[in-house]
Subunit: 534 residues, 2 copies
Amino acid sequence: MSSEHVAGLPSSVDVYDTTLRDGAQQEGISLTVEDKLRVARQLDALGVRYIEGGWPGANPKDAEFFRRAPEELNLEHATLVAFGSTRRAGVKAESDATLRSLLEASTKAVCLVAKAWDYHVTDALRTSLGEGIKMAFDSVDFLVKQGLEVFFDAEHFFDGYKRNPSYSLSILDAAEQAGARTLVLCDTNGGALPFEVEEIVARVSEVSAAQIGVHFHNDSGCAVANSLSAVRAGATHVQGCINGYGERTGNANLSTVVPDLTLKMGIETVPRERIQLITSLSRHVAEIVNLPLSPQSPYVGASAFTHKAGLHVSAIARRPDAYEHIDPETVGNGTRFVVSEMAGRQSLLLKANELGVEIRDEALSQVLERLKELEHKGYHFEVADGSLELLLRLSEGWTQDFFSLESFKVLTEYKEKGESVTEATVKVVVNGERVIETAEGNGPVSALDAALRKALRPYFEALSQMHLTDFKVRVLDSDKATDATVRVLIDSSNGDDTWSTIGVSSNVIEASWHALVDSIVVGLIRAAASSVYL
Amino acid sequence: MSSEHVAGLPSSVDVYDTTLRDGAQQEGISLTVEDKLRVARQLDALGVRYIEGGWPGANPKDAEFFRRAPEELNLEHATLVAFGSTRRAGVKAESDATLRSLLEASTKAVCLVAKAWDYHVTDALRTSLGEGIKMAFDSVDFLVKQGLEVFFDAEHFFDGYKRNPSYSLSILDAAEQAGARTLVLCDTNGGALPFEVEEIVARVSEVSAAQIGVHFHNDSGCAVANSLSAVRAGATHVQGCINGYGERTGNANLSTVVPDLTLKMGIETVPRERIQLITSLSRHVAEIVNLPLSPQSPYVGASAFTHKAGLHVSAIARRPDAYEHIDPETVGNGTRFVVSEMAGRQSLLLKANELGVEIRDEALSQVLERLKELEHKGYHFEVADGSLELLLRLSEGWTQDFFSLESFKVLTEYKEKGESVTEATVKVVVNGERVIETAEGNGPVSALDAALRKALRPYFEALSQMHLTDFKVRVLDSDKATDATVRVLIDSSNGDDTWSTIGVSSNVIEASWHALVDSIVVGLIRAAASSVYL
């Protein structure tokens, strides 16, 4: 757990994130341009040095990303990088379409990929080794002369070096001569092991004056260790993806590599005080790519610092470093104990204090029972503080007097090649008056939301300040197909404050309704607490 | 990719599986005795040397496992091991309850855990360092004299050694003197890095004559690499769990360590011809513990040999070793291709062949354009082969003549404290006849599904064989709240065959409808292809 700097290691390493390019290659990941912009903002907040935004020549979505980036991203810390391949065989650099599209991306830096394994030059590109080297030289030279910082990504470097080291080294040499800033050794097929990496990187460091970078895939389960070994051997630029996203088995997991380098090897990576953002960043990016983050993820996973009942809680409290490899707060994570009856009471009491709800001992037991019951049905209160607050308040005798529901009705009509319409009607009682309102929406939930707000707004001015900011649907037992249980999560905000509410049902509309009503009720409670209108 | 034996490495390593003991500590895993027996049979079939079955003294379920094991497991290859701690402080070995329960487990081998970090002896056990050493010696001595093979698990060894090497070494020495077969160095808190492991294991190998074993956790993301480093430094016994199960971030993943050692370092682990069982074993065990296996898992995951980028496909067919770090069949896995907007013509053509759709060159270009357009809107065809098939067929002039939709209508009515009802009405034209049907469902999608099937079933017998097996909803731009775009994925099956279809819309009901219709149309095409009724 020492974070002192270790002799012989570099004092700092450049972190180069390729989540938006190589990470997006993962099966099941499909990012919109909006998604990419949001991920880039997160990466910049963490303080990575480089963000590879995509391959503008290969993908119109990536071209759009680079077009929008200058205005929509105000990168504070990171440099945006566009990725592309070297010129095609037999074409002049200045007339190569890929190189032109790299220029059009208007970034300060580019990453150029070239084959560093002789076989791939002769058999995949079907050109001569000499032309392979010229393609590398010309392309780097062209872009450097346009004033760009060039990273040279030597594809299949490790496999190539093992078979024909002289070719692999001469292509690096060509890139270096042409002015590449960094020579990135890429283990494209992901099969390398740490000791061969250490040996090969050390050899390259000896013969090359340029900065050495590395790019690993996890096919041998060693992408993280390979990155660390490379740094020991002289690499000072490490590429990878948040949460280890990427094709096949994924890229080197930056959510692990960054804390390993910083906290264990004493090397500067992202600004030291920002490393505590890495847990929330990893979880946020997981939300954006919509893949659940493995609870086992080192440093950032929900179970990374979770202890089972067998261990003495008090012993850990006395000397955490005897039971945890690092202080979880350094990475913005926390120690968790698997919920026992006792731990449950404690944390619930804490939550009640946090929410400003006073709760008696007997009520606490009832809430715990109710919580267990509901979580068994699919509720998940850890992510729905608003609904938890209502549960706590109800257990203390509070009643929801803002309004009551009589009924609602939602109708969707759809005509092939024609228009579709969705409308909702709600019947509620407010202040003793029966109110009936109908509204249309983009879908059943937006129609319901609109109708309910229309019915309540005349009575609650505060509603005009409140809006939904996020809406998520998860099918829980998805193998029951359309009869599955559905969990709906809604995030809401009134400008100052945000809260999350939950609904669970086998009917997506009912689940949404429960989450919607909770959202509005919590909002009205917050408004009542901060004003005099009630 | 060399699997020749590397000079300086041991010729073989004993594989010691602790899935049933340490793996079962993972949050969310709860194995019945039946489950444990089934996992043990799988492990034996793979040919691991040792199976740690549980902690009979701490857990009545584990005691039952050991009671039933002799009759119900006919282990061919593996030796069953019972796990327990050394005697308590101040108690004679022969009267210690834990040691007695180890004897009662009636295994030939036992694994005894003892604290190898001075702090844990003085502050967790609250006894003297001298008594700590006696506890180790007496316990090993007692069990060896009962004729048992004893593995000595030196808990917190690496952390202890870094702080007080002399204590950590003297407890190993005590165990060795008492006749322990193997000294297992355990990184209990999981924070070790490969280079310190290599250094420390080499040091222990120098001073100890016993076999050295290792046991790693993945808290630094290096458990696999640490195991390999330890073997390079002299360890010939490696502990771990299938799929990396275990507390916090998990144990060393044997599904990765075993192929790494065997296929990459040329070391004998399980019998060579059985290593091809490891993919099916990993997936089978994942079924038993009821946690989905990460598709990214090295060697054994569903994506481990999946290729996406279009330019590679034809090249891979020509020379797979240039694109895959090992031959996937060696581990019982296989190469897979997926199609997405990144895909070139080649991979789309390959997919068309796989689906049995003949497609002309011009049509291919149209489909590629259409794919990009749709994926930009939120479609994601790599997970929806059924909808992709329809897209390919339509581009070749095929028309969907099974039925056409006139309109549908879905109504949900909900009464507070009362019943809720959802019904759907569809109007379709089949065989020139107009059919109108209404059905109820658990929610809008199940009602629509029921109504459509009711309308079509009289015309298509095959429908009765087809059913939905999975249903997923994803809100794409979820920060637009209830106006967000929604993507619905449906998996379907007819018993022999499965397919996935997709729908995207801002209205969840429309999105579901598109996925439903595609699902039924694909099913009808499959039925037509395999029967004469059309």
